[in-house]
Point group: C2
Chain length 165, copies 2
DNA sequence: TATTGTTATACTCTATAACTATA
DNA sequence: TATAGTTATAGAGTATAACAATA
């Protein structure tokens, strides 16, 4: 301040957040969480799908055909959000919707063979995003990070619907 | 599947995401990152401020009066986003904007005494959010988590403007 | 009357572009 | 002509509410 030359030394005007933020775990988590979100959205983008689509396919691959409400609840999505995702997946032949004969209000959703193939492609993308994001960590550190996040996730599970994919 | 009773056993239809997601560190990070974001936004809400305001005040508390461009760059915000934040802070007397006499296009932004007081209040809120979010971790685990996030943050620093506060 | 899937609407966030005043 | 701050606009993402078919 005071008499310091106001001419900015061109290079060293480094954009650095305040210590107070850098020292906050919560802040780092928010920040890095959104980096992860951006990076993975970008990585999926060329396929025309998103992490949301991947989540739906992964669920259907593990579970028997389910109703839309069950899918939405399992993934923490809003039911109306799910409709659009399923429309897109169905259009491209990755899933099938058929009416539940025992309750004609319901749709039973299931994975097609093409859906399984695409799921494998999306897994490859997820893997490469992981590799990039966690490059600075060695395998043991990744394990540790994962374990800590699982602890946190289990504890905060009981939250409302969220929908971050 | 097959002949399994389609009548859902009322209680155990637990909304559980697929293993594939639960086992993905990237997914957990996205998810928990947005939980953090929601929780802290909610905690700040009664004050009429947001984590963004807190970030600006914290920066000004550490640095001499800065121009808006420098603040925006340091926090990774868009310059136009910052304008509104500063308007709100100024209205409530927490910061001051005055023209830089040596370049009348610039505003030099500084913290007022009232701003410092409010900053302290916001720190208290941040602390209580932290306590709640990281309750399931013991002090050593928190340290570990923080250290891992710092590693990641340093590595991915060179990213564009983000603005997750 | 309640529920499933659907459609429509609104609201928040953020990114982009256009404008002014100074340089 | 370029830059700092400002204003305005538009786009994603998500949440809420209303609706038709079925129970």
């Amino acid at each position: 301040m005071t008499t310091t030359d106001p001419q900015v030394p061109p290079v060293l005007a480094l954009a650095r957040p305040p210590k107070e933020l850098r020292s906050s775990t919560a802040h780092l988590l928010k920040r890095f969480g959104s980096v992860v979100k951006e990076r993975s959205a970008a990585a999926y983008e060329p396929t025309g799908f998103s992490p949301y689509h991947h989540a739906v396919l992964a669920l259907l691959d593990e579970e028997p055909p389910e109703t839309q409400a069950m899918i939405a609840d399992a993934l923490g999505y809003d039911r109306s959000h799910l409709v659009g995702l399923l429309d897109e997946l169905e259009e491209r032949g990755l899933i099938e919707r058929r009416r539940d004969p025992s309750d004609r209000r319901r749709h039973l959703v299931s994975l097609t063979a093409e859906g399984k193939r695409t799921l494998k492609r999306l897994r490859t993308i997820a893997k490469s995003v992981d590799a990039e994001l966690f490059a600075p960590l060695d395998p043991e550190q990744r394990e540790t990070l994962h374990a800590l996040l699982v602890l946190l996730a289990n504890h905060h599970e009981s939250r409302r619907h969220a929908g971050t994919s």
